[in-house]
């Protein structure tokens, strides 16, 4: 299973702009490289990343072969309410990884 690291401020004030940082383990094989015998290594990348804040989509990214291994994605949002931030990465060969973090907004 893919490992992921999420960094969200555990507590914030309503209306604060908060930074969310995510890191996930993935080889991000481009599909352009040959293996030692000369055959191309098939593409294996994460293609989509979505973050939902209490069920509402607040951030989405499409990923492409030029993005390096173990993608680090960071973005900002406004802390509106306490609840859950849910993250989902999806990619080639049926790759899916999910992670969720609780956030407290005072």
């Amino acid at each position: 299973m893919a490992r992921a690291l999420i960094n969200v401020p555990p507590k914030s004030k309503r209306g604060d702009v908060i930074e969310i940082k995510t890191l996930i383990s993935h080889v991000m094989e481009t599909g352009f490289r040959p293996d030692p015998t000369g055959k191309p290594i098939p593409r294996d990348i994460i293609t989509d990343f979505v973050c939902k804040y209490n069920g509402e989509e607040i951030f989405r990214a499409e990923l492409f072969p030029a993005i390096g291994a173990n993608p680090f994605i960071s973005f900002f949002t406004v802390a509106t309410a306490s609840g859950t931030l849910a993250f989902e990465w999806a990619g080639d060969n049926g790759f899916v990884a999910t992670e969720s973090v609780d956030i407290t907004v005072e």
């Binding site: 490992r3 690291l5 999420i6 960094n7 940082k21 890191l23 996930i24 383990s25 991000m28 390096g68 291994a69 173990n70 680090f72």
Partner: protein, 258 residues
């Protein structure tokens, strides 16, 4: 031309004297100090340091029962946060059974073969690096300390000799770059002192975690010398010398390097 000027010219042509002095203890710098602000920030933030992904894997492996003995690392060693504190900063260490120093990866594989009775991990395999990173993480910030042991002296000397030995088609020694010319540039990148305090580390160029032996093999390849296979005694002797050379410096595993 006076004789003195001629001598100066000859010296300039031949380069500095071949015998390099070791870097004084107070002038030693980790590779960290040569990195950009952004790469340093990546190493310092444990949620941005990709090496931590391996640490998490290693933590899971630590408690996984494996092999014919159905033992986990934790069954013998308990909580790694206490039992492994400072351990990685003391390796390579002398192994009485083998009569020579062994590095941390070898120690993990010996434990695996003898105690767990499982197949040893392949060099540079994900699981071996994960365990080494997890054990290494427990020594982060602690000083590197190679035991003052009479038995390791000949191996330390062998490592020191190798460090100063010119080799390969470029006829270079490690010391020519890392003792004499650190801080200068090689192909646009700063030459570090070769203080091996952060292994296993995440190299952005590799896009993965790698061991010190992988780095040494890379260096020898760059010198167009023959690199030694993983686990070869020559590699371990050199590792031993490098860690002795970095004695007292803070251990950084899992570090990030460009």
């Amino acid at each position: 031309m006076t004789r003195c000027a001629a001598l100066v010219l000859v010296t300039a042509l031949l380069g500095p004297p071949a015998l390099a002095a070791e870097i004084p203890l107070t002038e030693r710098k980790s590779g960290y100090d040569f990195m950009s602000r952004e790469t340093r920030a990546m190493q310092d933030d444990e949620t941005a340091n990709p090496g931590m992904l391996w640490v998490l894997d290693g933590e899971a492996l630590w408690t996984r029962k494996d092999g014919a003995a159905a033992q986990s690392c934790a069954d013998c060693h308990g909580d790694a946060r206490t039992s492994m504190k400072g351990v990685a900063a003391r390796y390579p260490a002398f192994d009485a059974v083998r009569g020579r120093p062994i590095d941390l990866e070898q120690r993990i594989n010996i434990c695996r073969a003898d105690k767990q009775r499982a197949t040893p991990f392949a060099p540079e395999s994900k699981d071996l690096l994960a365990l080494a990173a997890f054990v290494g993480r427990q020594s982060r910030g602690m000083p590197v300390e190679i035991a003052d042991d009479e038995r390791i002296k000949p191996f330390l000397q062998a490592g020191r000799d190798m460090f100063h030995q010119r080799q390969g088609q470029l006829n270079l020694s490690c010391a020519q770059c890392h003792d004499d010319n650190w801080g200068q540039k090689l192909a646009g990148a700063p030459i570090p002192q070769g203080q091996a305090t952060g292994y296993p580390l995440y190299r952005l160029e590799w896009q993965t975690l790698g061991s010190l032996q992988r780095r040494l093999r890379n260096c020898l390849f760059g010198m167009r010398a023959i690199s030694y296979p993983f686990g070869a005694p020559e590699n371990v002797d050199l590792e031993l010398y490098l860690m002795w050379r970095a004695r007292g410096m803070p251990f950084e595993a899992p570090a990030v390097r460009p």
